[in-house]
Amino acid sequence: MIVADRKPFSELLEMVDGCNRIMIVGCKGCVTVCNVGGLKEVQILASALKIARKKTGTPLEIEETLLERQCDPEYIELLKNQVNDFDAVISMACGVGPQFLSEAYPEQRFFPAVNTTFFGGAVRHGIWEERCAGCGTCIIHQYDGMCPISRCSKSLMNGPCGGSSHGACEISPDTDCIWDRIVRKKMETGKVNDLINVAPVKNWRSSWHGGPRRRVREELTK
């Protein structure tokens, strides 16, 4: 899923400065799963904003809404009858949400409530870790199920580097050196010879380095 962090409260409060009536739109997709922009988080943000504004004597009216997803126009369209009735709209979806909303309703101002961070999963309840960099050319199978692109700080294809220390990365002792784990697993499974061959230079054009990406699948287009 896409993992995000809620923006600092002061930043959000500043966004709605001068507004009397706003809408907060949550998303039932990734941000619900990573507990940052689902129904509960919409309610919490709305309540916190209302408290802050009541404190300053300038009450804020907030409409709380939740969309199935904010990355599909069919759901964005559901807001058409009400979206322009507000001074501003806060989207709690990943970076896609505020953009899709802005494209659909150019008259309205949309603010992002979250900082979108990475593609990852919950290793434990409340703890998420990065697992994919969306590079566009998956090579996980060559490294026994561990992605060196997203999980090595240098995205090394032929590691580890000299910064690997006791299984940790030099950037932080809390960050595992994925190359340490790859090598260990290869040794345990008797496949260490796989690492003798030097992995060729990766073609990064399939990644974001080749510019914004677009996919057209003819069998699905109408």
């Binding site: 409260f9 309610q43 309540s47 802050a52 009541k54 404190k55 300053t56 004597g57």
Partner: protein, 141 residues
């Protein structure tokens, strides 16, 4: 102002401990301030962040959650979760610029009737010193 100010304080009390302790306090004829309004919950783990925020939003001067002693939760760790949620709300209040002491977490057992009365007095006294919630004050204005 502080002489006439009677705070409204909400207490989320666990059925197995704090609520039973309140019962015991009653049976023992212990008096505690009438400012406390008790809401019984099956476990403090049921108390969510939004419940605490809404209480503040709707004008409560203080809110506290009273659960079992740590390690003695009927549902193992409901009270530990409640404490984390209370701490989250404290952070939210700090961001907003409201005194974090307006929300607290307490732990006690069902046999601690006098402690229940003491907590009620302690909380009431603290909120009286802090004065009315700024949310309520500006709302009235």
């Amino acid at each position: 102002m502080s002489e006439t100010f009677e705070p409204r304080i909400l207490a989320f009390c666990c059925k197995y401990c704090a609520y039973a302790a309140a019962d015991l306090a009653g049976s023992m004829r212990l008096s505690y301030p009438t400012n406390i309004k008790v809401i019984q919950v099956p476990c403090t783990g049921r108390v969510d962040i939004i419940h605490l925020l809404r209480a503040i939003e709707d004008g409560a001067d203080g809110v506290y959650v009273a659960g079992c002693l740590e390690g003695e939760c009927h549902f193992i760790e409901g009270n530990l979760r409640a404490r984390k949620r209370v701490n989250y709300v404290k952070e939210v209040l700090k961001d907003i610029g409201i005194e974090t002491e307006r929300i607290e977490m307490y732990n006690l057992s069902s046999a601690m009737g006098p402690r229940f009365a003491e907590i009620a007095q302690e909380m009431t006294q603290k909120i009286k010193e802090l004065g009315p919630s700024p949310v309520k004050m500006n709302q009235a204005a």
